[in-house]
Every structure is written in structure tokens, then in C-alpha cells.
């Protein structure tokens, strides 16, 4: 297949072949990461700007690594230290950066639709690194890649996602990447954080973690944010972790070869017990590994290729 996208805004309109194509490219990128000299000249002379309006060291570092491994020049722009706090609009900030002629903007913003909005107003390529509660496409792809590496397939697996489904862009991208590849998804969390409408996606919605985890092949735990308790989504972290936390006892209901994933950062003892976070079946670090490879693949596909030739 040919890659024609100028942007990666979300996985909602990605065909399975496109996702496989990115994963294939990521596999080759991963090989580069095993060498002594972890650098290839593919994006030499190209500029990638990380435009992060929301704090995120991990994702930003991952994209930065990805760009640098490909020999791109990577520039970081974080909103706390910049013009945005002086009241400049998102559009003006992006246009200012665009005037410096980057090839790719990697954008993270707290408003859903921000990446799509920018793609309509600037001419460089946009990679959505997370927009509000909408999507986080590179995470959806790296979760898919990680599961494929370990399980060999995604179709037919029972995958439970537990936590704050309502505010999670990771879930929404995972629904596209994993769901569309044939997994059966279970979404679990407090009723205040799991919208009923999610059933329309074909996933099973439940507030019973034991049912969600029973017989599961993959369990993805989501971080619960402290602010949600302050705005009354659940009574306390203690209550939350009793009902919705993954511990050895609940985990024993899953398949014998079930694996645990988490987009990070983990609240140890809240959604994931200390020992499970580090156990051999936790794929958290492999997700990070896959993340750099997937992001290298996305940057590579956007920087070269058919759309640029036009």
C-alpha cells in the first residue's frame, strides 16, 4: 500500500492495512534501536517541533528520541514557558512556529480537536500527540504493536481496559487500533467515568472489575487522576483502588498467560499494585520501547514519501 497521509490526527479513519503498514515500518525501526550506533540519516536536515501545550515529559521525550534517532533536528516548545501564558491563541502560536519552517509539528493540547484545527491552518505535517479527550494515535499504535509482539495476534483476544474511560484519549485510540483488528474489548470503571454510549462502539461496559478481568488476555490499566476525586467522580482513592485496582487476587482471574499494560505514569498502589507493576507479565517497559519505534515510523512516513512529492 502507499502512504498518502500528510497528518496523523487520529486512528478513527485508519484502515487495518494502514495500521499494519506503520507497525511493519516500526519493526524495521526497532532494529535500528538494537545497534550500537542508534542513528540513521533518514530525516537528516528535517526539523521536528514538539509543540506541547500540556505537560508531558514521557511522550515528548519519546518523540524527541524518535526524531533524533532519525537524525532530524528536534525542537521542544512547552506552553508553560512561553507566549501562550501571555494570552497568545493556539493558532497564532502555531503560525509563528510554522514561519520558522519545520517539517513536522508534534502537537499535544488539552482541547479535543486541536490537532485537526491546526491541520486546517498550517501547511506542515501534524502528528497528534494527544488532544483533549479525543485521540492519542501513537499510543493506540504502540499498544497494538506491543500486543502483536507478545501474543502474535490481536484478533479474538479479550482485552480489558480499566479506569477513567471518560477522559481517556488512549482508550479511544485503542478502540480503533485494537477493536478494529478484531479484539473483544471490555471497558471497566466507576459508572461516573464510563459513559454508557461506549457500548455503541461494540465494547462491553461494566463496573465489575472481576468480570472484566476474567479470562482476559490483556489488561490495560489507566491512570486515575487525583483531580477527578476532587470533582466528585468517586469518593476517595482508597475506595477506587479497592473496587477498581488490579492486584494479584483479581489478576488471578485472567488467563494464565495474560499480560498487563499501562500507558504510564503508574500510580503504584492505586490502579496497579506494586508487585504487579514489576512482575514478568507487565509489558509497561516494552510499551515504552515500542513507543519510540512507532514514533520513528510515523515521523519517517510523514517526512518522506508521496505527499511530499506533490
Amino acid at each position: 500500500m502507499e502512504w498518502h497521509r500528510r497528518h496523523v490526527l487520529g486512528l478513527s479513519d485508519f484502515h487495518p492495512e494502514e495500521m499494519e503498514f506503520v507497525i511493519d515500518t516500526a519493526r524495521s525501526m526497532e532494529e535500528v534501536l538494537t545497534r550500537d550506533i542508534k542513528k540513521v540519516p533518514a530525516l537528516r536536515g528535517k526539523t521536528v517541533v514538539n509543540l506541547f501545550f500540556e505537560a508531558s515529559t514521557r511522550t515528548r521525550t519519546s518523540f524527541e528520541m524518535a526524531g533524533k534517532r532519525l537524525s532530524a533536528d528536534v525542537v521542544n516548545f512547552s506552553s508553560g514557558t512561553s507566549s501562550v501564558t501571555k494570552g497568545e491563541t493556539l493558532l497564532d502560536t502555531a503560525r509563528n512556529i510554522e514561519a520558522m519552517k519545520p517539517n513536522i509539528l508534534v502537537v499535544r493540547h488539552s482541547a479535543s480537536g486541536a490537532a485537526l484545527f491546526l491541520s486546517r491552518h498550517v501547511s506542515c505535517s501534524i502528528v497528534n500527540a494527544g488532544d483533549g479527550a479525543n485521540e492519542h494515535p501513537s499510543q493506540g499504535l504502540l499498544d497494538l504493536y506491543t500486543i502483536l509482539k507478545v501474543k502474535g495476534k490481536v484478533a479474538g483476544l479479550k482485552i480489558a481496559i480499566v479506569g477513567d474511560i471518560l477522559h481517556s484519549r488512549v482508550v479511544r485510540s485503542d478502540l480503533h487500533s485494537l477493536g478494529r483488528m478484531g479484539a473483544k474489548l471490555w471497558l471497566c470503571g466507576p459508572a461516573t467515568l464510563v459513559p454508557r454510549e461506549m457500548e455503541r462502539t461494540g465494547a462491553v461496559v461494566t463496573s465489575d472489575i472481576r468480570e472484566a478481568v476474567r479470562g482476559a488476555d490483556v489488561i490495560i490499566m489507566l491512570r486515575i487522576q487525583l483531580e477527578r476525586q476532587k470533582t466528585s467522580y468517586f469518593p476517595s482513592l482508597r475506595e477506587y483502588s479497592q473496587r477498581f485496582g488490579l492486584n494479584r487476587d483479581v489478576f488471578s482471574l485472567a488467563k494464565d498467560d495474560a499480560v498487563i499494560m499501562h500507558p504510564g505514569p503508574i500510580n503504584r498502589g492505586v490502579e496497579l499494585s506494586d508487585e504487579l507493576a514489576d512482575c514478568e507479565r507487565s509489558l509497561v517497559l516494552r510499551q515504552v520501547e515500542s513507543g519510540v519505534a512507532v514514533r520513528m515510523a510515523l515521523l519517517y512516513l510523514l517526512a518522506g514519501g508521496s505527499h511530499v512529492a506533490h
Binding site: T89, L91, S112, G113, E197
Partner: protein
């Protein structure tokens, strides 16, 4: 003297719906003539053949943004847009800057409208000082200066005790309180109707309950105080049901809706279109159907467009940051006329919703009717005219409308205010500037 001849005169307030001729003199309706048009006439003759002649349309929910936000709109541009839309009167809200909570501001609006406006302007003054929801404004002084009703629109009066007091206090004077019914805490900072579309787009939702809870509260307080209440921009099924219940219980509660709520649903948000962002938000298809039912069965008394002009750059941004609201004066009439296609209501009902109803609700003397002695506010409607709502046609200072580019059917062929032609799209008729 003005003669409007050959049109279908539709005037539900005086029970008339027949072809004939209307004579206007000295700013008043002189008489209706049946049969042949007078052979000779001293004065201007306007031919309204094939068109409707109705009492001047009244939009009872308009934000003129003047004083304070004149870059979005001012009294001149707003009334020009109104006249082009067929409106001879607009009722403007108090959330200006400064807020219309003092007679000086009320008088400023009245004066400027008199001097420069292309339509009658009836100001609504604030219920609470500064719209802060803490202290009542000086109702009597404001009414004397020209305020026709009171509303904190833009915001609800959150404090139920204060709302009760205000309703109770103004009751003996016959003033009506227009309520922007919203429980803003329950709305929870949402930006779109809480439903499948918002979930799909990852936009925080505003539950229908946020409007329903507030309407219920307002109605129950109206019941408690036997005050006069009007619910603004109803957008939900339960909201219409509650209004129906209040009507059946014999309470003096009236209600309005805006054309967007019976024309669009939250599907219009696809692609994060900020021109579809407003408060209350566009709801689901079931709510849209309920609004139509409410219009059909008479529950809803008026259509008011909630004309809310905004400059381009506050809409040209990410969805969460975009301002709420759309303009509506030039599209309200054609969108309302599309209700006729449903086949269930006739032109008379449309005139009630757009003219007689608002006049009755706000007790606007001489308006909403073409009986002899009424003010010479007349709208000539060409119900068949096909046109496209293009950006060049927008007379408002702002162009924030989801209807741009729409093919419309029906428009105001002429708008006559106090006997003066303020807008004309009829051959041979020119408007006074």
C-alpha cells in the same frame, strides 16, 4: 400614506387571513380594503401580489452588543440585519458593557435606536445588578426608562431565593422575567450536548438535565409566586414537556425556541465546527422532534433567534475555546417558513410565533397586529423566493452562522417600520437608508 395592495393579509390577532389592501397613514394602520384596489391613491403604492402581508415581525431575543462590544455588532448594524430579515422590532438583552442595569444605559439604547436604528428596539434590563446574581436591579426605574422585561440572559439567576424574590417583587407591576434556564454547575463546564456525538469527538458534555432542572425550578417558583415567567431558548424534550405542564396548570408561563433547535442537531458538530457551538447546545434528534411538536401543538409561544454575533477570531480556534452563539436575524424567517413544509401548521401560526406571540408576551402596544390603529409595522413576505445565504449578504458585523451557503426558501420582500420602508427587495420600491 402607503398602500400595500394585492397581498394575502395574514393577521391572526384580528382574525384576518384574506387577500386585500392595507392602507398606512401617519405611522398607523388606517384600514384594510377588500375587493379591487383603489384606482387612485395619494402616496406610495407597493404591490404585494403573490406575497403575504403580515404584522411586522418581532424577534424577542437579540444581542445587539451595544454598548461595549461594538466590534461584534452595534445598534445600527444589528437593526439593519433585522430589517433585511423582515423584523420591524427587536428585543435586546442586557449583557452589554456596561450591563443594562441602570436607566442611563436603557436610555442610551433607546436614544441610539431612535436616531440610527432601522427597526424598533425594545431593551430588556437585568434582573440582578451587573448580572452578578446577588442583588436585584431597580426594576421600576428601568421600566420607566423603557425596559420591557427583565432577564440576566447569558446567565441564569442561580440563587433560587433571589429568583423567587425578583418574581414576587415585580408581579404586581405586571413585569415578566425572561429566564435563561441553566444549572451551570450541572452543566459542568461542558461544550456540547452530552450525547453520542460529544463522546465520539471527545468533547465534554452538557447534560439535558442542566436545562431541565433549571426550567423546573423556574416554573415551580412561578407557581409559588404566581409571577409571570418566560423560558428562553428551549432546546430539550423535557423542557417542552415542562412548559406544557405549566400551561395546563394554568400558570402564566410562556416559552420560546430558536430556529437552530428545530433545524439542526448535534450532528452539526462533526469536524469540530465552531459555528455549531452555542448555549444551550444543539441537542439530539429526539429533542429536535420534541421542539417541532411543541411548535405544532401551541406549547411554544414564540420563535426568537438568540442573535449572538461574534468576531471571526473567537470562533477560529480549538472547539473548547470557541465562543458560544450564532447570528440569526437574516435566517430566522426562512427557517421558520420551512415549518410549513411539515404540512401541519399554516401561515397564521408562523405569524403568531414571529409577531403576535412576542407582542403579547411583552405587552408591546400597537405591535403584532394589523388592526386599524395599530402601528404601521408591516412585513411583506415572499414565501416562494429562493435564495442562497451567502457571506456577502450578511449585514451583521459578524458572520458566525452555520447556515452560510444554505439554499433558503422564503424571505422578507419588504420591511416597513412606522410607515417607513426599511428594507425592500421588490422592484420599484426603495428603502429609506
Amino acid at each position: 400614506m402607503l398602500l400595500i395592495k394585492g397581498g394575502r393579509v395574514i393577521d391572526p390577532a384580528s382574525g384576518r387571513d384574506e387577500t386585500g389592501h392595507l392602507v398606512l397613514k401617519d405611522g398607523k394602520v388606517r384600514e384594510f380594503l377588500g375587493g379591487e384596489a383603489p384606482a387612485r391613491f395619494e402616496g406610495t403604492v407597493v404591490s404585494a401580489e403573490g406575497m403575504w402581508v403580515v404584522p411586522g415581525l418581532i424577534d424577542m431575543h437579540v444581542h445587539l452588543r451595544d454598548p461595549g462590544y461594538e466590534w461584534k455588532e452595534d445598534i445600527l448594524s444589528g437593526t439593519r440585519a433585522a430589517a433585511a430579515g423582515g423584523f420591524t422590532s427587536v428585543v435586546c438583552m442586557a449583557n452589554t458593557n456596561p450591563v443594562n442595569d441602570s436607566p442611563e444605559v436603557t436610555r442610551y439604547i433607546m436614544e441610539k435606536a431612535r436616531r440610527e436604528g432601522c427597526a424598533n428596539v425594545f431593551p430588556v434590563a437585568a434582573v440582578t445588578r451587573g448580572l452578578e446574581g446577588k442583588e436585584m436591579a431597580d426594576f421600576s426605574e428601568l421600566a420607566e426608562a423603557g425596559a420591557v422585561a427583565f432577564s440576566d440572559d447569558g446567565k441564569p439567576v442561580e440563587n433560587s431565593l433571589l429568583f423567587r424574590r425578583a418574581m414576587e417583587y415585580v408581579r404586581p407591576f405586571g413585569y415578566r422575567i425572561l429566564s435563561h434556564a441553566e444549572d451551570s454547575v450541572l452543566a459542568g463546564g461542558g461544550a456540547a450536548h452530552e450525547g453520542w456525538t460529544a463522546r465520539k469527538l471527545g468533547i465534554p458534555g452538557i447534560p439535558s438535565a442542566a436545562e431541565e432542572v433549571a426550567i423546573a425550578r423556574d416554573i415551580l417558583i412561578a407557581r409559588q409566586t404566581r409571577g409571570k415567567l418566560h423560558i428562553q431558548h428551549i432546546s430539550t424534550r423535557m423542557g417542552v414537556d415542562l412548559l406544557r405542564m405549566a400551561r395546563r396548570a394554568g400558570l402564566d408561563v410562556t416559552g420560546e425556541t430558536a430556529p437552530q433547535y428545530f433545524t439542526l442537531t448535534d450532528a452539526a458538530l462533526e469536524g469540530y465546527d465552531t459555528n455549531a457551538k452555542m448555549n444551550p447546545p444543539l441537542r439530539g434528534e429526539d429533542d429536535r422532534m420534541a421542539i417541532l411538536e411543541g411548535i405544532l401543538d401551541g406549547t411554544i409561544d414564540a420563535i426568537a433567534c438568540d442573535h449572538a454575533p461574534h468576531e471571526a477570531y473567537v470562533k477560529r480556534c480549538e472547539f473548547a475555546a470557541a465562543a458560544n452563539g450564532i447570528i440569526g436575524l437574516q435566517t430566522s424567517l426562512p427557517l421558520s417558513l420551512s415549518l410549513l413544509a411539515e404540512g401541519k401548521i399554516g401561515p397564521g401560526r408562523i405569524v403568531e410565533l414571529l409577531s403576535a406571540g412576542p407582542a403579547r408576551i411583552l405587552r408591546l402596544q400597537g405591535k403584532g397586529s394589523l388592526a386599524a390603529g395599530a402601528d404601521a409595522d408591516v412585513t411583506i413576505i415572499d414565501p416562494e423566493a429562493e435564495w442562497e445565504f451567502r457571506p456577502e449578504e450578511v449585514l451583521s458585523r459578524s458572520k458566525n452562522s452555520p447556515f452560510l451557503g444554505w439554499k433558503m426558501r422564503g424571505r422578507a420582500a419588504a420591511t416597513i417600520c412606522g410607515g417607513r420602508v426599511r428594507h425592500a427587495a421588490i422592484a420599484g420600491v426603495t428603502a429609506d437608508a
